[in-house]
């Protein structure tokens, strides 16, 4: 009985004074799950480096969809210095999200299902390669702070208003630094909270905001992209296009149905009296290059059309039988 008393008292005392695992140890546990990214950029204000984090044992990496991914090759460097060439598996521009895949196994990673949510005042750690301080096997930079608020994002970059206006964490830790986007926000015991956001300014105050995208907002899209069943829901292909956004249909080109992950850009039909008909395009033509860029998929092609500038020319190279034929469309001013 006496022993029972003591055991119970000790248990109670220990639970009430439960010490969290030390921060240095928590950090050591997180570092293997975060990666350094190197890609396009390296010009003034456009860093050629960034951050990301692993969400699967065989190398799926979550990061922000940014100019970094514009290059053919994205280099991924793990916490132990191993280098991989990463392939962009899919992106969701609405969420500023991108998934990169490297070829590996048994990698330490975050389990998305174990991500948590917190409220204002919660202490947080942010892991990233801000300012490219870390190279090779050097660990990422860790900063600390608290969640200042959980609110709806209203942000811009230059004059471009960012489409996402869902919930974000704002922190007093300065995470709005070059190279930090795509890093992770965790609790003080290393639990996954959010992905560090891009270098954006508040719409209201023009100040640089330190925000992070909560995992629950991203989880669906991440899982869909990884599973290969992601369908774009962003304005680039929907009917509510902002002004001056073109599609293949505007030129009279009807493509084959876009069902598989990378449907080649075969023409299904050409509308009568359309610019495409006037240029001589025919069904079964395969659009191979658009404005000098290789067309990997219908998705790709639609993106090129969407970015067409009124007054410019749009050049397509198509393959018919064994021939390559170049056609050029003037882009009308709307």
């Amino acid at each position: 009985m006496k022993h029972l008393c003591w055991i119970l008292m000790c248990y109670l005392i220990s639970t009430s004074m439960l010490q969290a695992e030390s921060i240095p140890n928590v950090i050591d546990g997180v570092q293997p799950k975060v990666v350094k990214l190197f890609g396009a950029g390296g010009l003034k204000n456009l860093a050629g480096y960034g951050s990301g984090f692993l969400v699967s044992a065989d190398g799926h990496i979550v990061t922000v969809w940014s100019h970094l991914l514009d290059s053919d090759v994205v280099t991924v460097v793990l916490s132990d210095g191993q280098r991989f060439y990463g392939e962009v598996l899919g992106t969701d521009s609405r969420l500023d999200l991108a998934i990169i895949k490297i070829d590996s196994q048994n990698l330490p990673h975050f389990d998305l299902k174990q991500a948590v949510s917190v409220g204002p005042g919660a202490r947080v750690l942010a892991f990233s390669n801000m300012f490219k301080v870390a190279t090779g096997d050097e660990p990422l930079t860790v900063v600390h702070g608290v969640v200042s608020s959980k609110t709806e994002l209203s942000a811009k970059r230059g004059r471009y208003k960012v489409p996402y206006s869902g919930p974000v964490y704002l922190t007093d830790a300065i995470t709005n630094n070059s190279g930090a986007a795509g890093g992770v926000l965790t609790t003080y015991d290393g639990k996954l909270l959010a992905m560090l956001g891009r270098e954006l300014q508040s719409e209201e105050s023009n100040t640089w905001i330190n925000y992070a995208m909560p995992i629950p907002e991203l989880q669906g899209a991440i899982e869909d992209i990884i599973a290969g069943k992601f369908t774009r829901r962003d304005p680039l292909t929907s009917t509510n296009k902002p002004e001056a956004m073109f599609s293949t249909l505007d030129f009279g080109i009807v493509l084959v149905p876009n069902v598989v992950f990378r449907t080649p850009a075969y023409i299904e039909a050409i509308q009568d009296d359309s610019p495409a008909a006037k240029q001589g395009l025919k069904p079964d033509d395969l659009i191979v290059f658009a404005n000098g860029e290789l067309v990997n998929s219908i998705q790709n092609l639609e993106q090129v059309f969407a970015q067409a500038i009124p007054g410019d020319d749009l050049q397509l190279i198509i393959r018919r039988n064994e021939e390559l034929i170049t056609v050029t469309f003037p882009i009308p001013r709307k």
Binding site: M1, K2, C5, L8, M9, L12, I13, S16, S22, I23, P24, N25, V26, I27, K44, N45, G81, Q82, R83, M130, F131, V133, A134, T135, G136, D137, E138, P139, T141, V142, V143, H144, A173, I174, T175, N177, S178, E199, W208
Partner: protein, 587 residues
């Protein structure tokens, strides 16, 4: 039965008490938190005493520093004192202004030492060990950001260690922050030169640089501090009053695709080459640390002054080599003296060292009249200008301190110029060495060797590295160093031969021959010397045994001689006689 009920009641009471305590804890601040806060307040009061507010002449600009010993030596950044001249006013948190004199500078590492004057009991910081810092530990930065401390009470900021052993490229100047500490503790212009303390209030870094990018020159969560371990390696070098230089291995390294660090090119004149390092070799460890990237290599190199000997391990094919390498000087002397680092040019790099000369802020002048430009009369003698030195005065007094030990051997100056040294080579035959005004001659068993003093010094006896030349240097060092040597200065301190106890080093040169003279720091004993016949060869290494009394002078009982890593001979000294050289000629 009753006792059990009794115990259960007690247990239930304890339960309730604990529950109540828990509930109360959420309503008001737990005692343990209050206690921690009190401890922190006390810690900060303690640390604040050692923080120095350094003012540049005219009252505009300046930075911070930290007292590292009670006699008043203060460590700060080179760029804080650059351009301040010999004297600068400093404020401590007792509200008083003290005069300080410049002691030594390390432009490459961005460190400088000054000395506060007027007391011998200044409150010094407790020195910590920067190698023990872990990412995630908290730290305090104390200093004078934005020059807010007009009352000399330092501003205190508290933040986390974000990275250790970081390498920061020289940004437009040759200031290189190798092996530095990265913190998100708020550091701003004016914090430069000030202390970074660990959570226990021990000094672990000197704040000097911040990452700046799109928000102007203010903290954005990435500050860099020079590690205190690096500063301590250089401390005696800085106290020597010189313009201190960093080290090079004499080789360029790069990473190959496997991540291994390979020697890309190597100077055949370097000590590393003489120890066997060649192009294409893979570095394994350096200075006791594994080398897995070029940054890590540079981090090790950056924390040592030139002249230190440190271990190096490398691999060729499957063979591994472990050697000790003496580090050469990184810069030519003229580079350090003439090229004072300019203002960093705005480059497309996010990091720039905060230069305090061009303050964009309104600076309140802590002095109601402009501070006097002339040094205070009583201290004026403590600053002596001389080419190659930050303040020659400190070199002079260090040299004098060590030469006192040498003079304990006796008054060699008064002795005749002819010396005759005789004894026995351990496990071998007798030897004799004759010192004449025009030559030195030796006889080992049947082997004779002569070194004429009017021709080039050479390796005689062969394989010794120039024993006769070395002994000639010793004779001059004992009798007339100021007359004979062209350079004669205190260098600083280093571990003897890389791994031994800390020794003070004096350097002398005459022609091409240079010698390093070693004094044990703990006992002050004169323990030996290395003589190098010219710059790119291995020296003749001589270490002294116990001293013996010979008439009115003292001389070692044994001279242990080594060269190029191998033993040459051990000379048991049996006699040292002095004679007027004319006598010899007459005989």
């Amino acid at each position: 039965m009753k006792s059990i009920v009794h115990r259960v009641i007690v247990l239930q009471f304890v339960f309730c008490l604990l529950c109540v305590c828990q509930k109360n804890a959420s309503a008001q601040v737990a005692d343990i938190v209050k206690e921690f806060e009190q401890q922190r307040v006390a810690l900060i009061e303690n640390m604040s005493q050692s923080v120095v507010a350094i003012f540049a002449p005219g009252g505009a600009g300046g930075g911070s520093g930290v007292i590292v010993s009670p006699d008043g030596f203060v460590v700060t950044n080179f760029h804080v004192v650059q351009g301040s001249g010999g004297f600068m006013p400093c404020g401590l948190n007792d509200g008083k202004v003290y005069d300080a004199v410049l002691v030594g500078v390390d432009p490459t590492g961005d460190v400088a030492v000054i000395k506060l004057l007027g007391r011998d009991d200044f409150p010094a910081a407790t020195i910590g060990n920067s190698d023990e810092l872990r990412v995630g530990e908290m730290s305090y930065a104390l200093g004078n950001p934005f020059l807010l401390a007009t009352d000399f009470q330092p501003t205190v900021t508290y933040g986390m260690v974000s990275g250790v052993h970081r390498y920061q490229y020289p940004a437009g100047t040759f200031l290189e922050y190798s092996d530095c500490i990265q913190v998100d503790t708020s550091i701003n212009p004016g914090n430069s030169g000030g202390p970074l303390f660990n959570k226990d209030g021990e000094l672990v870094g000197i704040n000097g640089r911040i990452a700046v990018e799109k928000r102007g020159r203010v903290n954005v969560g990435a500050g860099y501090a020079i590690s205190i371990n690096q500063v301590m390696n250089f401390l005696d070098h800085l106290k020597s009053g010189r313009i201190v230089d960093h080290a090079t291995l004499g080789a360029i390294v790069s990473s190959n695709s496997d991540g291994a660090v390979i020697v890309k090119s190597i100077l055949s004149s370097s000590a590393a080459y003489r120890r066997g390092l060649r192009q294409g070799d893979e570095l394994i460890s350096f200075g006791g640390r594994p080398v897995r990237s070029v940054n890590q290599f540079k981090n090790v190199l950056g924390i040592y002054p030139k002249g230190w000997t440190i271990p190096l391990s490398f691999q060729r094919e499957t063979e591994r080599f472990d050697v000790n390498v003496q580090l050469a000087a990184l810069h030519r002397r003229s580079e350090l003296i003439n090229e004072a680092p300019e203002e960093p040019q705005p480059e497309d790099q996010p990091e720039k060292p905060p230069e305090d000369q061009d303050k964009p802020f309104e600076v309140p002048n802590p002095f109601h009249q402009p501070p006097k430009d002339e040094p205070p009369a009583e201290y004026a003698h403590m600053f002596e200008e001389k080419a190659g030195y930050a303040n020659y005065y400190f070199n002079k007094i260090a040299r004098e301190r060590l030469m006192k030990t040498v003079s304990d051997w006796g008054n060699f100056k008064a002795k005749p110029k002819g010396w005759a040294l005789a004894g026995k080579v351990t496990n071998a035959a007798e030897f004799q060495i004759r010192f004449q005004p025009d030559l030195i001659a030796s006889q080992f068993a049947k082997d004779f060797a002569v070194q004429k003093l009017d021709s080039d010094f050479t390796d005689v006896p062969p394989g010794s590295g120039g024993l006769l030349a070395a002994l000639h240097q010793l004779q001059q060092f004992l009798s007339a160093p100021e007359d004979y040597f062209t350079d004669f200065y205190y260098l600083g301190s280093e571990p003897l031969d890389g791994t031994g106890p800390k020794t003070d080093v004096i350097i002398t040169t005459r022609g091409l021959v240079s010698t390093r003279w070693y004094f044990d720091q703990q006992t002050g004993t004169f323990i030996g010397f290395d003589t190098q016949l010219e710059e790119y060869v291995d020296p003749c290494v001589i270490r002294f045994g116990e001293l013996q009394k010979i008439d009115e002078i003292q001389f070692p009982t044994v001279l242990k001689i080594q060269h190029a890593g191998a033993d040459f001979a051990e000379l048991q000294i049996e006699s040292l006689k002095f004679y007027e050289p004319q006598q010899e000629a007459q005989e």
